[in-house]
């Protein structure tokens, strides 16, 4: 167990280091997020009511796209430079590696997005309310959407598709997360309800994805190494 934890930490640390040294590559997700949100605000115009209706869907779609944009090629470089091949031979299991990659994505991409979400609310005419109330649902959603991106990019890497079909592969897993996530965020904003039924569904979905994604991603990567 100690060994698995050590490998997870090493992989996550290495990915964060690579992102920081990549000349701003880690900013890709959050920059896209900021631009998308700003354009949506302009697209819906100055009507306060229309803006408020659009707030939660905009945050969620921006999060989804930003994560997929940043994570779609997460296994490509390790497949290309022989790292994954080497780990696949030398380590009995790739599970710790995959979990390390996930933690890396959450730190590099998810972290900035979660911090940005409450700020977005202010742009969407929610100046008066306690904007931090949406954090639990958005944070949980970022985890679930990252998990969907992980399995999609593992399958994609195995097929050597280079990330082109990640969005399609992740769709069946992302859509339920979006449906319950947007409702949970809306309820949090409108009635300060954090632990709503929708939030419970979102939690269940996230736990379900946590249970299946690492194992299936390992299987996909193993097939890709053959």
């Amino acid at each position: 167990m100690g060994g698995a934890f050590r490998i997870m930490r090493a992989v996550a640390y290495r990915d964060v280091l690579l992102a920081l040294k990549s000349g701003g590559g880690w900013l890709q997700g959050i920059v896209f997020y900021a631009v998308f949100v700003a354009f949506m605000a302009f697209a819906f115009g100055p009507d306060g009511n229309a803006l408020r209706t659009a707030a939660a869907p905009t945050i969620w779609l921006a999060t989804l796209f930003a994560i997929q944009l940043a994570a779609s090629e997460m296994f490509v470089s390790d497949l290309d430079d022989g790292t994954l091949q080497t780990l696949g031979v030398e380590q009995p299991s790739l599970l710790a590696y995959v979990i390390g990659k996930l933690i890396g994505v959450l730190i590099i991409v998810g972290g900035p997005l979660i911090v940005a979400a409450p700020i977005v609310l202010v742009m969407f005419a929610y100046g008066g309310v306690n904007v931090a109330i949406i954090l639990p649902s958005v944070a949980l959603g970022a985890v679930a959407l990252s998990l969907a991106a992980v399995i999609a990019s593992a399958i994609n890497g195995a097929l050597q598709g280079g990330g082109r079909f990640t969005a399609i592969l992740a769709a069946p897993l992302s859509i339920p997360v979006l449906i319950f996530g947007i409702d949970a965020t809306n309820l949090a904003i409108e009635s300060s309800q954090i632990w709503s039924v929708e939030m419970q569904f979102l939690t269940a979905l996230t736990l379900f994805l946590t249970a299946i994604v690492p194992g299936f991603s390992v299987l996909a990567l193993r097939l890709g190494l053959e």
Binding site: G3, R6, I7, R9, A10, Y13, R14, L17, L18, K21, S22, S77, D80, D81, G82, T83, Q85, T86, L87, G88, V89, E90, Q91, P92, L225, E226
Partner: protein, 208 residues
């Protein structure tokens, strides 16, 4: 595993065949190899050297035959066998964006070795002074030396090397041969897929 334990390792291959995409690439390969020995797998490009190495490493499934690792006559599980192997893949498993020492620190954590080991392996593969260079700026020969630094760091009894001397100059080849020789001398087992002769005492297997 301790160094004295290295020579107790033994590999037995009988009638191994390996297929890729339903097409038989190598077939009927049998050999036995013990600690202290090096096996060179010769063959032209496309003869199936990498596939055979992939099958030996457990990465590719065998379509026929049997392949077993032993430690003092005791069969090793797949897990134990994997933990005995250090692999040099076609690409060296280093990140161009990281420095030499950052790359080696990552592998130190993977292999659970103290970071203090880095200085000695860097010296052993003769890339001292390059520790803070970005790996992308190294020459092909220096990158290969870095990959060997990783393999020395792993300190594992079995070396599986895929074309270790490809695009390397004569001095580099001599150093790589010397490293394989000293691995054999301390009881290690090495299997090397290559299309050119190496100046080491070895057994050979010609395929294709």
């Amino acid at each position: 595993m301790k160094r004295s334990e290295f020579e107790k390792i033994n590999l037995q291959c009988s009638e191994v065949a390996c297929a890729r995409g339903g097409v038989l690439v190598v077939g009927g390969v049998s050999f036995e190899l013990s600690g202290g020995e090096a096996l060179l797998i010769y063959g032209a490009n496309g003869a199936g050297k990498s596939s055979l190495l992939g099958a030996i490493s457990g990465r590719l499934p065998l379509s026929q035959g049997e392949l077993n690792w032993y430690h003092e006559n005791e069969a090793l599980t797949q897990r134990q066998a994997a933990l005995g192997v250090a692999m040099l893949a076609h690409d060296g498993a280093t990140k161009p964006g990281l420095t030499v020492s950052e790359n080696l620190r990552f592998w130190c954590s993977i292999y659970d070795k103290p970071k203090g080991d880095i200085a000695s392996v860097v010296k052993e593969v003769k890339i001292s002074g390059l520790e803070h260079r970005r790996t992308a700026t190294l020459s092909a020969g220096q990158k290969r030396r870095l990959s060997f630094a990783r393999i020395l760091l792993a300190n594992r009894p079995v070396w599986l090397l895929d074309e270790p001397t490809a695009s390397i100059d004569d001095a580099g080849k001599a150093d790589i041969s010397a490293m394989i020789e000293s691995h054999s001398a301390r009881g290690g087992l090495a299997i090397i897929a290559t299309h050119e002769a190496l100046d080491i005492s070895h057994r050979s297997l010609r395929i294709g």
